[in-house]
């Protein structure tokens, strides 16, 4: 008989939902429901702005999975963003309605990221960061040579023209909302699962995780693939809302800057961080957009300042030990008190 099959002396129950997380969960459901019906109440331009916001939010969620939980700083996730945009274009040119092309494009990026991970995982730390960037550049240069997809000049997505701009905007909005929800839910489910616990252990101490039996490379690969898949969601949403693609902008390293900014400001390695970061980023962008490059200067400066003086970001500072998590990721154990006193 092994140690762990002996009868327990302690009666304990494990609860995963705290009052905060249950409240947050229901508020989340309520917000989602409101957002679903929002097009009936608010104007077209607001809807388009929300779609724009969704694409940034998705990027932040995707980058956080990789860097925040997996400890891998990539500056090449725009590879999946660009490939996903172009996959939608390709499918639409071959008769698939763009909205239906979205899930296919996202899945394609997820699969593509598996072989790429074998190459990228040969590098660590700083080298991984630039290595992923080079891979993104290769994707850019290859895509720019495919004449049927518009080459270096880019192309327009025309198959949604047969719908009214209003309808197209609303459907794209819903697609974006679906991707946001799917991303958040998949990250939450991942983090609640065995893989998620292993991922958080790697985040805290890779060596100790390995000694506890965690297959570190496999778990990191899962994080990488999920991150790629989510970033692809942002790429899909960008082409659906902009209705055009151009290699230099679809594969722009600037998206990495945005991702890093949002996650750093919100709080790396927290579930809530990317959401807060995306809101801050979007607000900054709205506020400063008229000032041209100034907004990027401020963005960079804030990123530097946050790294140096607020390294845990907003949420990490509010909740340094991840105790008040808004999502039910944690395990709360209640020990029967009369038995506990025997210890």
């Amino acid at each position: 008989m092994s140690v762990l099959e002996a009868p327990a002396r302690t009666a304990a129950t494990v609860n995963r939902y705290s009052r905060i997380s249950l409240g947050a969960l229901w508020s989340g459901v309520a917000v989602a429901a409101l957002l679903v019906v929002a097009p009936a109440f608010i104007g077209e331009s607001s809807i388009n702005q929300l779609t724009q916001f969704f694409s940034f939010l998705i990027l932040a969620i995707g980058w956080n999975v990789l860097a925040g939980y997996g400890g891998m700083v990539s500056i090449g996730q725009q590879a999946y963003l660009g490939v996903a945009s172009y996959a939608v274009l390709y499918l639409s040119l071959h008769g698939v309605l763009s909205w239906w092309a979205a899930p296919i494009a996202i899945a394609f990026c997820g699969v593509l990221s598996i072989p790429i991970s074998y190459l990228a995982f040969r590098l660590r730390g700083s080298f991984f960061a630039i290595g992923t960037w080079v891979i993104a550049e290769v994707c850019l240069l290859v895509v720019a040579q495919i004449e049927s997809l518009g080459g270096g000049a880019g192309a327009s997505l025309n198959d949604l023209n047969r719908f009214s701009p209003h309808t197209a905007g609303d459907v794209t909005y819903w697609v974006g909302l679906a991707i946001v929800i799917a991303s958040l839910v998949s990250v939450a489910l991942l983090l609640r699962s065995r893989v998620g616990l292993a991922l958080m252990s790697i985040r805290d101490d890779e060596l100790a995780a390995e000694a506890t039996g965690v297959n570190v490379t496999r778990i990191k690969r899962i994080a990488y693939v999920l991150s790629a898949t989510i970033c692809a969601g942002a790429g899909v949403l960008l082409i659906l809302s902009n209705l055009e693609v151009q290699p230099n902008s679809s594969f722009s390293v600037q998206y990495s800057a945005f991702m890093i900014f949002m996650v750093l400001v919100g709080g790396m390695g927290t579930f809530e961080g990317p959401i807060i970061g995306a809101i801050v980023f979007y607000a900054l962008q709205q506020w400063l957009a008229a000032n041209g490059a100034w907004y990027l200067i401020i963005l960079g400066a804030v990123a530097i300042a946050v790294t140096l003086w607020l390294p845990r970001g907003v949420w990490g500072t509010v909740d340094p030990h991840n105790r008040r998590s808004l999502v039910p990721l944690r395990h709360r154990v209640t020990v029967a008190s009369h038995l506990e006193s025997e210890e």
Binding site: V3, A8, T10, A198, D205, A209, A211, N215, N322, H331
Partner: protein, 253 residues
């Protein structure tokens, strides 16, 4: 544990381990056996390479040559994680808790890596491991908030939660006071009684004195003594390896 008349079954065996780091010889043909159900202590002067040896046994360090056998299976080429899942737990000399995970989550992680069981059973197993290591009151505390003794207990709980047959202990008694060492000894003995074997590297001699069935002394890449705690600690070669040449023993007294 008595070495009765039957040949004891070896749970773990390291054969002819050779390891050099640069010009330093850690092991030059070392053999170590851990019989099932026993506690084997490993001592040796500072810098003898005991922690490196534990690394070779747990899979985090590659030896130049030699074979590591666990439960009659050659595990030499397997990595740390694989060996952990097979049932070799280890603790770290300087505790390495997961700062943001609770004690329960530490144990749960190990349970989940070791085998696939239902959610409720995995929770029970995690609680058991925590209970066995005397951490139940801190079950919801995150690793980053624990004191040293509790960190050491957490190291043990994390290893025990793997449901291991063998646990490699690296100086768990170091830095603890007498009473705390006493508590630790009790934990180890009760785990041994429940079927876990230990290979224990330790400088706190009294901990090994109270627990070990057998002690080996590693020095200069070789096992210079092997036997019961009393035999090994009185062994002239051991005393020399700790205190220099025996000349000191005669002149200073």
């Amino acid at each position: 544990m008595t070495n009765g008349s039957l040949i004891p079954h070896n749970l773990f065996e390291a054969r002819n381990i050779v390891k050099r780091i640069g010009t330093v010889v850690i092991a030059d043909g070392v053999d170590i056996q851990v019989p099932a159900g026993s506690i084997v202590g490993m001592i040796g002067p500072n810098g003898a390479g005991k922690t490196t040896m534990l690394g070779i046994f747990s899979g985090s360090v590659k030896a130049q040559s030699g074979t590591v056998v666990f439960q009659d299976q050659d595990v030499t080429s397997l990595g740390t994680a694989k060996r952990a899942r097979l049932g070799i737990g280890r603790t770290f000399q300087i505790p390495r808790p997961f700062d943001k995970l609770t004690v329960f989550e530490h144990a749960l992680l190990a349970v989940q890596q070791a085998r696939k069981v239902s959610t409720s059973e995995s929770h029970e197993r995690a609680i058991l491991a925590i209970e066995r290591c005397g951490l139940i009151k801190l079950v919801n505390t995150v690793g980053g908030d624990l004191r040293l003794l509790d960190r050491k207990r957490l190291e043990m709980a994390r290893a025990v939660a793997l449901d291991p047959s063998l646990v490699l202990l690296d100086e768990v008694a170091g830095g603890l006071n007498n009473a705390e060492v006493g508590q630790l000894i009790e934990i180890v003995l009760s785990l041994r009684d429940e079927g876990i074997s230990f290979l224990w590297v330790e400088h706190v001699i009294r901990a090994l004195n109270a627990t070990a069935d057998r002690i080996v002394c590693l020095s200069g890449g070789r096992l210079i003594a092997e036997g019961s705690p009393a035999e090994v600690l009185e062994h002239p070669a051991v005393i020399e390896s700790y205190f220099g040449s025996p000349a000191f023993m005669s002149t200073a007294s």
